[in-house]
Amino acid sequence: MIRLEDVGCRYRQAWAVEAVSGGFAPGSLTAVVGPNGAGKTTLLRAIAGVHPVAAGRIDRGGLAANAIALLPQASRMDRSFPLSCADVVALGAWPRMGAFAALKAGDARRVLAALARVGLADVGDRLVGALSVGQFQRLLWARLLVQDAPVLLLDEPVAGVDVASEAIFQDMLAEWQREGRTVIAVLHDLDLVLRRFPQTLLLARRMIAWGETGQVLSAANRQRARLSLDPWDAALLDAS
């Protein structure tokens, strides 16, 4: 169980997230939704342990750092770096091989299987710079598969992917749920949230609601989120 107790985080000088309390049960699927600037990414990074918690506390229930896999936004990476796709996916084995050991045979097989799983079996030798935005996103899913962590933190995992790719993602999601992994995903597609995520955390810098998806995304809660933030950003919340 990952518990948040009155968690607050700063981004530069200002509070990006305030007063978030609740828990992610093992094996649960939770969507984190909210308008732009609501602090979703900051909160996710705080749970991953890469953004400092300025108030309250996060109890990861004794999970090791390696047990939590973070899928960052693709835009935060240097896609021009001359690495092959297979190398990027192999970095998912980092918790097992560390900075210095060689890739084990089992992990090498996992890399190939993961590339095939996301429909990129034939691009292993290509440089990441040659991939489209959607292909690159799928490559990051493959790295996540190789990481094989019990807790998955996904920051906009379907940004820029086509319909066919999103179907692959939904299959993986169902698989993760069967395997009992805990998934926490920042998403903008409320339709996907309603169909696939039983739990939702609605955030607008402060926590608006956290619980069963249908109730959390009620018209009243969306209205509260809209009023909490800039009207232009909040309009996006009503777009779906």
Binding site: A65, R76, M77, D78, L83
Partner: protein
């Protein structure tokens, strides 16, 4: 013709200079490739000016002892690197004007200090001299190159991950700052190691120009490293020959040779060249 290419190296000082430059050519350019990929090319510009006051201070207090100058350069280089990193953080990546200030002050301070110390030849300090490569300098160059090469081999994988996806490394508890600082320490060591032969201003050239040129000839990381080392080796040899016959300092001669390869790459290289752009029309 054959004699023209090999005769100069029958002399001890030329052989030592060549051996030293070969050592630096093996170690510097791989670091340069990472500097280019990490978009830190301009940091080396600050570095080459920044080590001068340290070297001058070493020369003023330690006589012309290579050890004193090298130690001074190392300390000044690390200080400037930390300062540049700090400026980048506090200005949120808009540090260029601050770095320009640091560069100018460091150069002025270095030149002022050199003129205070009697008997120090500024030209040799700034642009290098093959005559300055005595046994001690050769040991310094080879030692620094060995440490830099082994050090880069150790931090190779974390450095790649930190360059490509720093957030992922942080999430794995990967201590990104440690790898970054370790990398910069190797860069500083290599620049300082080259100053006797190449001069403080030109030492960075043997590291950066082959790396920049390599981008036009190879796509993969390993390919760029191989090409960069090859360009540096060829430039060292060619540059030393030109330096000998034309009687110009070794640093500029070697850097100009590497510069020629870069120009060729820009014009007709395999990647991002003028010719390629024209062909695609």
């Amino acid at each position: 013709m054959f004699d023209l290419l090999f005769d100069p190296f029958s002399m001890g000082f030329m052989r030592r200079a060549l051996a030293g430059c070969i050592a630096l050519s093996l170690a510097g350019p791989p670091l340069g490739v990472f500097l280019v990929l990490r978009r830190m090319s301009l940091t080396t510009d600050v570095l080459q000016h920044g080590i001068l006051p340290g070297i001058a201070l070493g020369a003023v207090f330690g006589g012309m002892s290579l050890l004193a100058m090298g130690a001074g350069g190392l300390v000044a280089g690390l200080a400037v690197t930390l300062l540049a990193g700090w400026l980048a953080r506090v200005t949120a990546g808009r540090e260029d004007s601050q770095l320009a200030a640091v560069t100018l002050i460091a150069l002025a301070a270095g030149v002022a200090m050199v003129s205070l110390g009697r008997g120090i030849d500024l030209t040799h300090l700034l642009f290098g001299s093959v005559l300055a490569v005595d046994d001690a300098a050769l040991v310094l160059m080879a030692g620094v190159a060995s440490v830099a090469l082994l050090g880069l081999a150790v931090i190779w994988r974390p450095l790649i991950l930190q360059s490509f996806d720093p957030g992922f490394l942080d999430a794995l508890g990967g201590r990104g700052a440690v790898w970054h600082l370790g990398f910069m320490a190797l860069v500083v060591a290599c620049v300082v190691g080259g100053f006797a032969a190449l001069g403080t201003l030109m030492s960075v050239g043997l590291m950066m120009l082959p790396a920049v040129a390599a981008r036009h000839w190879a796509a993969s990381l390993a390919g760029q490293v191989r090409v960069a080392v090859g360009v540096a080796l060829a430039s060292s040899y060619g540059g030393l020959l030109v330096s000998y016959y034309a009687d110009i300092p070794a640093g500029p001669a070697i850097v100009l040779a590497a510069g020629l390869v870069w120009v060729a790459g820009v014009l007709v290289g395999r990647h991002d060249s003028l010719l390629g752009t024209l062909r695609r029309g």
